[in-house]
Symmetry: none
Subunit: 210 residues, 4 copies
DNA sequence: AATGAATGAGCATTCATTCAT
DNA sequence: AATGAATGAATGCTCATTCAT
């Protein structure tokens, strides 16, 4: 009956629908709850309460608790990868870009305990189901680093090492530093950053150059 | 401390009693089950079946599933630390000892998938309760490495870096390489060992020395 | 009763309004879904999907799932009773009319598995709520048969038995034959019809007459 | 250590173990609850309370609510078949045996409303899963009747009809009479027994013999 | 030492129904 | 008339743990 043109077309890709907003609110609440209690100890009820929605409401948006958890992880990883890439883009040399990406991840995780916990450890409590996801997410980070290391090799900035292994070494280092910080409280990632970078880039050997 | 030979009856702490044998059988079965299914998905029933014992029988030897899991972890870590220390002892220079300890851990984990899984990832599945244990165990490994690195610094073999961070970097690298191998199947830790060592020891920078 | 043609506007009780059409489409879809999955295993969502309508749309036409189910049953029973009565009307003797009604029901059920399932067994799935409905519907069929049997008694065609019981015996026989056919696939009601009629009408006893 | 012979050997087939007793108590309680509320409306909690056992206790003995329900049905059917066979055995002619079996079932169902409800209707509320069971149980009753009718045919007592159909006709008749009684309260199966038998055995036709 | 029956708190998921739009 | 997001009560099943024997 109403054929008047509307200023906001239905399904417009620029419009955030109400449904998407609710979905996002659920993701936010779930992130918070999962981060503080871990997967198994987080009840769907907890998340429902956090987001002021009924349990059924959550199940309208996500088919299962597991799917919800994965969606949370994806969202976090997406954001972090974007930030890492942005940080890399601000540098000029390939090695500097790789370092920047790594440091960005380290520092962001170091600033947000919740983010760190959920990406680094909470997922394991899902049992084997989580493993593929963990590999996928770390693989995405590794890819960003490896790409820059490859360029650095081509540019002659670094030695011709196995850049895939190097990328994972870097990530593993971050992972360990962050976990240690999470559970021992020290050292703060930010204050470990310089040592870390130095060790990763220059190794331990005394430079007997000149 | 007491090395005198004993002739004591059954029940003696130097004799392997029947009770201790059963306890050990339980630990072995539990290790197997936990390694393949993770903590949460492993049922006490599964372990009981594996060890051909009733559930009650297990509870006679271990007060809870959690305690049993910790005992499994401790046993594994004990063995691995001993092996790492033995490997280190066979070397002469401090840095070589640190490297040897690291490589020993990497190669042993690389040979025993089950061992790797349980030490590297399954533990997280207990939620926050496990975290202290994880830190404790990784701390023990780190300690072995750090001690040797400290000596290497004193001996002037390596730069005067933060050896605690370096030790964790090394462990984190191993952790990541092993996890990647577990879930992607490649590269085999043994074949990654050289690259890994090179990267950790010499860093990535082109040595423009002499 | 009123056969005069009408010229009334939309909304008239003799006109099939859009609303009535939708209602009918819902009934058809519900019949199909209930017949194949039974009451409890049929979800309002299933029916909504079948009829390409939203769940809310169904609730606009029917106050509850239970009401919808009853409406489906009523529609089916109405049709079948009409057919049975028509079949009876085509016969001349009372006994022949009773037999015709019975056979009509048997054969129609035998032709439409779905119809048979829903009338013979699915209804029970509502628990006690359905029972009155089942009695009502079977009662309607029994009434048709009983009325003719009563006449047959008056006409001296059959013995002076309890016609109510006889009517239910006949229905029970049909019910059992149809259910057996539904789940064992044999014998086809049509092929059992003659045996059935013979057994019901003549009994089993050898006629040692004349 | 104790090698003294015991008076009661373990696993003795004449001994009712404690476990079996509990299992039986559960079956009894379940029979009662299912009979009065139907399958879906009976909660495992209801049964647990009825038998003064925890929910988990029930699941120790039966893997699921559905299995428990089937076990209840089997037990009831077993008993009823035995009684029907005993009743048949007390008669001398084949037809009398078939009649006796049928009447035994009718009268027993007529005496125990709960038994009747559970065997005749409650199961349907399980949805399609129940159907095979219903067919199986009715098939067992039919078999008893058919066997005797076959003999009656051989003995020339009854006509050479399709005894499988006849057996199901008889059962269907009982089923319908019992259900009608259950929901309308009348006629009492016992008082319908004579009419029923007469109708089934002699049919409706006026015997014009003399 | 070991059994195994029993406990009981715990929880994800389902689905008929509602209601603002 | 119809939508579909949201509700919320309902419930079967799990499993670590206990304990009488």
């Amino acid at each position: 009956m109403d054929n008047r043109p509307t200023r906001q077309s239905v399904g417009d890709h620029l419009t955030t629908t109400q449904k998407e907003k609710t979905r996002d609110r659920i993701l936010g609440a779930a992130e918070q709850v999962f981060a503080s209690k871990g997967y198994h100890e987080s009840l769907v009820d907890d998340i429902a309460e956090e987001v002021s929605l009924s349990k059924g409401g959550i199940y309208f948006h996500f088919p299962s608790k597991e799917d919800l958890f994965f969606a949370v992880l994806d969202r976090l990883a997406d954001r972090l990868v974007v930030k890492a890439e942005e940080a890399a883009a601000r540098e000029t040399s390939p090695l500097a870009r790789a370092e920047a990406a790594l440091m960005e991840v380290l520092l962001r995780l170091g600033k947000r305990r919740r983010l760190a916990r959920i990406l680094m450890v909470q997922g394991y409590s899902m049992g084997n189901a989580f493993e593929a996801k963990r590999v996928e997410i770390f693989g995405r980070f590794a890819e960003v680093i490896k790409a820059n290391l490859d360029e650095a090799v081509l540019a002659g900035e670094i030695r011709d090492v196995d850049t895939a292994i190097a990328a994972h070494v870097w990530l593993g280092a971050i992972n360990e530093i962050v976990i240690r910080w999470l559970y021992e409280g020290t050292p703060q990632p930010a204050s470990a950053a310089d040592s870390l970078r130095s060790i990763l880039v220059h190794g331990l050997i005394v430079e007997d150059s000149f």
